[in-house]
Amino acid sequence: MTAQTRRLPDGGRIDRGRELTFTVDNVEYAGHPGDTVASALLANGRMEVGSSIYLGRPRGIVAAGAEEPNALLQVGGECSEPMVPATVRALVDGLGARTLSGLGHLDPASDPEQYDKRFVHTDVLVIGAGPAGLAAATAAATGGARVILLDEQAELGGSLLASGEERVDGRPALEWVADVTARLEAFHAVTLLARTTAFGSYDDNYVLAVERRTDHLDEPLTHLSRQRLWHIRAGQVVIATGAHERPLVFAGNDRPGVMLADAVRTYLNRYAVSVGDRVVVATTNDSAYHLVGDLLAAGVDVPVVLDARPVLSERAAETAVSHGVPVRPRAVVVATHGDPRVSAVEISEIDDGGQLVGGRDTVDCDTLAVSGGWSPVVHLHSQRQGKLTWNAGIAGFVPDGVVRNQLVVGSAAGEFDLDATLAAATDAGFEAAGRQGYPADVAASRGVGGWCGPVRPVWLVPGLDGEPGEWREHFVDQQRDQTVADVWRATGTGMRNVEHVKRYTSIGTGQDQGRTSGVVATGVIAAALAGSGAAPDIGEIGVASYRAPYTPVPFATIAGRERGDLFDPTRTTPVHGWHVDHGAEFEVVGQWLRPWYYPQQGESMDDAVRRECRAARTGVAMMDVTTLGKIEVRGRDAGEFLNRIYTNAFKKLAVGSARYGVMCRPDGMMFDDGVNLRLSEDRYFLTTSTGGAAGVLDWLEEWSQTEWPDLDVVFTSVTEQWTTVAVVGPRSREVVSRVAPDLDVSGEAFPFMAFRETTLASGLPARVCRISFSGELAFEINASGWYGRALWEDVYAAGHDLGITPYGTETMHVLRAEKGYPIAGQDTDGTVTPQDLGMGWVVSKTKDFVGKRSYSRADTARGDRKHLVGVLPVDGSTRLPEGTQLVAPGSPSAPTDGPVPMLGHVTSSYQSEALGRPFGLALVKSGRERFGEVLLAPIGDRLVEVEVTSPVLYDPEGTKRDG
């Protein structure tokens, strides 16, 4: 195991009382609680990580947060996790990982961890718990508002976690952080969420955030979800997301040991890791001078500070004097040397026009800390279409105005000075809480720190030779291995738009989404376009759109608990347990679990379906049809309303009778059907298809509320109120007479399409209907769902000696298809009229109804519309796959002949027990004129002959209906 040779003897926010061991690339290292994997690697002297994705160049750790482009890990485990930045992953004992070259792999193993969600509302959501977020949250909480403060880091404090000399209210800044955190914790209405990243911001202040709950625990608690997806609805959002430091673009800027200056400071102050012994600092602004002081205080040699600005700022001059460090104005790095880690940098002066001037000299060092300025983290503002504007003072894009009910504060708004930030953020907190009705006002804390000063944007340090189009070691996007030469190639093709250049080069498309490279790329594009006619300035070029997620979110987190048994809501009937006990296989219809068939010992599906069909056609069978949608309708105008909705008439339906009805969209296309009962003068009972129930109720309400509010009619869904058992077959009458002895079930007393209210032998009140979806004599018995299971068991027992056979949806399909009964959604697809189905009889010629006017359109009267027909494979044995296309014999079918004209397709296909052969239903052009014709069905490499027939293949005379 390597030792923590780079760890400073004291300081840092780590727990030195415990040593953790971990491995990266099979090398064992040590660290402490409080470390990230990156800080621990650096403590062990490991700078280099995986080589670059395309060019294979050595790369090192660059940053100390989510903006890291290079240090990506595949973290091991039962299901390993790809593309984890070492700079954000908390170190835990025993962690094992390997470094990646820009590309991880998705582990095919199932992720054993749990993920869940939480839906919360708040008055004020503060995103980011640096000085701005802490001040805003405290101000907002003072008046009693509900406040959520979240931050992606392991503890609150943001940039102050890396602070040194910064002070708040006269004390070290971290004491203030501790103080404020304690105060926030004491507010009942405040929720503090560390390790939580707000990654998506949506309309009406709907914000999604992912909380990492267990990755930092050595022994994860098994009952805790690993990650939690927070769905937050906020009255006000305060964005305090800070800023990311930008690198500089010069030759060899990707060499290991070249790091962002603030990252070097973070490792030094927060993690007590000195990444190098001799650090050259190159900057374009004042922020790096915080680092210079801290390095010197820690005993690290700073041979020179290179400041690109022509005149030293007050801060720079003061540093030079007080620390005795040489600070060189107009100075930039033009090249790096090392094997591979940087061992020396070459330095040159740069003039106001960005050209190198004068001689060069070389300075030895083991680390180059760079600051190319700061880019406010405006992603969440931008996701809501908040506008951005270029702020030349800080050389960065800042919010231009705010999104409604949002505020942006701190460096995210381009304000770097600590004192100004605390004042503005406090005001923002009051403003946000006040808007929510929780006003308050206390004095803001006063801060010292947060230097930035005037910034000289240096987008491109010229190479020592060649043209920009040849500068292939000036890296713009390290993660995507894209250079100045690549940008030049893009602009050379004529591209001027940043979105085009992004897609052409892939800059900003990596896991880091261009957090360090995005604005740099804009600067390089501006440099590339400079000199061309009407060259756009950097503000005009803008940045590529920021889209959610801000940082990658695992699909498992988005799925939450909706996996396995909880994948999708399922609906069951009161008889479900019986079906399970009796070995049913299930199919999902809508969300209902319906028995598909009931295989007995050793039976195949075909065997079971044949047996079930035989029972229904020759004996007696039963089916749970509870899933059909049911709607009760009442009103003086109920009949008139139904007349307008259904294609056929219901107004004059006799009380006690039932009628099949079809409803269409205004375009005349069928969308649902069912059998409806007239319960009394002003009451009807409608049934719908299993999957169509909710849609039909919405349809009825829509017409009632928007078109015919004058009609007296109301609706109530009663689908689950009733359990319905279909008793089917020539011997069904015997079974029903046993179950309902008070009922005269004779054909004369109880005709087809009638229903009766009765009390069953068990004492249950029930409604018995004589309706059939099989062509056989059949009844449907309805009773309250409380007694559904008892009803089913009674029917089963009553038919036992007659061999009553439960059947599932597959047999139901076979039986109805043999009779040519279509199923909406299977044999229709929204382009089929009732007339196409051969059901012109169900379409009234006299009354008006939704869809009627469409039957006078030329299109619905075409002779070559597709009709529902039966199809019989001529060989008597081929079961046609549903969806099979049908073509005319002799159709040219060589590839050179082009598309083969299709006449139609098979919509339903089964093996018929009654017919002793396979058959199907199909929609075929002019189908009713083709009865007897033979068409071809291409199945794989074969062309199967099929005969077109009437869709009614079983008992066309209808003799079976009455038993």
Binding site: F119, R233, R561, E562, T570, G635, V714, E720, Q721, W786
Partner: protein, 194 residues
């Protein structure tokens, strides 16, 4: 008349043991409240019919989203401007008959829908947190209090959510969804009963 209560079976009978085993009174408990009577009521508000209905219920009908009126015997939950669900510990057949008579010839509908939904009770200090894992409604006590009821979703299942006590909620899913809802809640409770 036969004693029908021996024949009836509530939608969550099969999960009763699991719900009992998962319940911890100091955190969160789950149980079914079976066989409560429910009557679907539709009537034009502010009409004589609505007044007669209110007389039957012993309280004026609630008028806004989230409101309930009445007592345990007859509690009306607001579902829409002209739609309520009346939950009763009494006989729903009798109540339906009374409400139907109150409507008379006027527009509206009173219908026994007792089997259409079942009632699941979630109670305990962590009940709200469990619900917040899958319910988008603002359940904070500043916003949702005992006596409030709304139509919402839990884990993508439509439910009526009715807060009955400081830490007690009733969920009224359609009976067909009851099994899924109960299994989802059992899963969500694991954090607090492990």
């Amino acid at each position: 008349m036969a004693d029908l209560t021996t024949l009836r079976r509530s939608p969550l009978t099969h999960l009763a043991d699991r719900m009992a085993a998962a319940s911890v009174s100091v955190t969160v408990s789950l149980s079914e409240v079976p066989f409560l009577g429910m009557v679907s009521l539709r009537v034009e508000p502010s009409t004589p019919a609505a007044t007669r209905v209110a007389d039957v219920l012993g309280a004026p009908l609630p008028t806004g989203c989230g409101e309930t009126t009445g007592d345990d015997d007859r509690r009306a939950l607001w579902l829409g401007p002209d739609e309520w669900l009346v939950v009763t510990t009494g006989d729903p057949v009798v109540l339906t008959r009374e409400l139907d008579a109150a409507l008379g010839e006027d527009p509206g509908l009173a219908l026994d829908v007792s089997a259409n939904r079942t009632v699941v009770e979630l109670a305990g200090p962590r009940a709200r947190t469990v619900l917040e894992k899958g319910c988008p409604v603002d359940l904070h006590r500043r916003s949702f209090v005992p006596g409030r009821a709304v139509a919402t979703t839990l884990a993508r299942v439509p439910v009526l959510l009715w807060q009955t006590g400081h830490d007690a909620y009733r969920l009224l899913p359609r009976s067909s969804f009851a099994d899924y809802v109960a299994r989802w809640l059992l899963d969500a409770m694991r954090e607090f009963n492990g």
